[in-house]
Symmetry: D2
Subunit: 174 residues, 4 copies
């Protein structure tokens, strides 16, 4: 199973719409997939699901199960303060690395309102996934100036769409 992660817990994030678009493209290609939005994490999971409480938060455990069952991931990562959102890494810190991430495969999508397209964020997150044993697809999609390429919550820029389709196919074949 392929799971698409919306990499922020911001309500109504643009990352969420990008995730939906990836989901539809994958479905058109015949690949079943689910979206998990970090917005749906328990608001206190950094305490109630980590450290001495690992495995004790029933709501968080549902996501852990989803991650454990998935073989491939697409992480949609908005740029916050020059890197990924802290909540995305906190989410990783709450997983069982060996079951959720080891020997799995992942593709990364970066989003920013500025001109970097979360390039540094994707670099950092690749280090983390590599450490956890997840192979990261070399072909990353960066989307700078997201506000300029979306209309009605859909990316319509043709060059960008072509990259997204290319990446979607590559993670299928990876």
């Amino acid at each position: 199973m392929l799971t698409i992660i919306v990499g922020t817990n911001r309500r109504d994030s643009v990352s969420q719409y990008v995730a939906v678009q990836y989901s539809e493209i994958l479905r058109e290609k015949g690949i079943a997939n689910v979206i998990f939005n970090l917005h749906d994490l328990p608001h206190d999971f950094i305490k109630s699901a980590l450290y001495e409480n690992v495995g004790k938060n029933v709501e968080f455990n549902k996501v852990r199960a989803l991650m454990n069952e998935s073989r491939k991931f697409i992480f949609v990562i908005p740029e916050y303060n020059g890197s990924f959102p802290g909540v995305l890494k906190a989410f990783i810190d709450g997983l069982d690395r060996s079951k959720a991430l080891a020997d799995k495969k992942s593709a990364l999508v970066g989003i920013s309102s500025g001109d970097q397209g979360a390039g540094i964020a994707l670099s950092h997150f690749t280090d983390i996934l590599s450490y956890c044993g997840t192979n990261v697809l070399a072909y990353r999609v960066r989307i700078p100036k997201i506000d300029e390429v979306m209309t009605d919550n859909k990316i319509i820029d043709k060059v960008l769409l072509s990259k997204i389709h290319k990446q979607a196919q590559k993670i299928i074949d990876f």
Copy 2:
């Protein structure tokens, strides 16, 4: 003012003891300082103090005020999943970058039970602080295999202590 940040919200973390040791060394050198432990953050701050709620969480606002008043920082950063704890970055995401971090100065200390000493974590965090306008001292202290160099919650390894004193002096002079 110099503030030392314990870079995890884990209860009774070893990072906390390292922070105390830095605090004492600075005090011996005549430098007033306070410690802020991420353990004391509101457990739901990733929701109640971010995004549409920025500035609305009274408890979190106290830390924002502390950060805004500080001119220098020492971040004590344990290695989680090959980088910094997600909660540390989420904490940064809740600050007012221009008041808390821009044009300030920082030193970084990395801790790990393994043999990396959080080297990658410090690299990532340097990127983030640089983005936020905080100048990062080149001289970083990495402490791998922390369990082997502490006795009674104090680092007593002489080589390491010499590095810590050197770094403490450098952040004073920075």
Copy 3:
């Protein structure tokens, strides 16, 4: 074909011996492979094989051909000044990215006399290979304090050997 790159042009480098060991392990597993040692690059290739001279250096072109024909790589990377040797990146700069690196696969091995095991070097080099389209195996082998784990130019440390065999198998299966 799998090519093992000795990532420095230093004469008689320890990286070379590590490359030989990988080569033998792969051969035992039935995988044909060749070693290319950056020591064998033309001494002036940073001028005679780059920029306006791309493709004009006959000696360098032989290596370009080797890279173009290879499908998988193992890069053995010693730590110089906290990252990879500059000559390794200059070598990459002389290649035809689309033929030499795009859509290929790679494993990374880091070596250091100090305690980092070239961790940052591997992070940097992963960024570069990813940019060039080479998928990098998540499982990286870091070898800190190389002088303490080699005898007669062979790694004999059992934990380390087990990691090397595991990585060799993983790049075969990648």
Copy 4:
């Protein structure tokens, strides 16, 4: 003394023109400075000035002396294959770290024809300078799509010029 490094050995590089512009701005501010262009390195320095030949190349030694005498640096770094030019790191590998780089100060400028502005390159190079003991100014200038912002080898884009002047002042005050 402040030295501006043109971070590539490409002939007639655009980085060279950016370096000249920084030099003039600094001079207007009353700061003496010199430019060193990596194009002027001996073409075989990766062999004749490194390893067993460290300190033996008379031409390269002149640059080593220049670096040793300088207190501050500005590195102008074009993006090659998603990072800095290999020749720039090879140049660093030929220096005496303790004399050339330790306890000095540096500012970084990134250039690209694409849309990244060498962001990853600056991240990597910050790691290297930090390792070598050079404090790196947080305020970095990235110049993406360099061809669109230069006229007659001068940057005339006002937003960009304002950033350059700001950075020049910051490295003076650092």
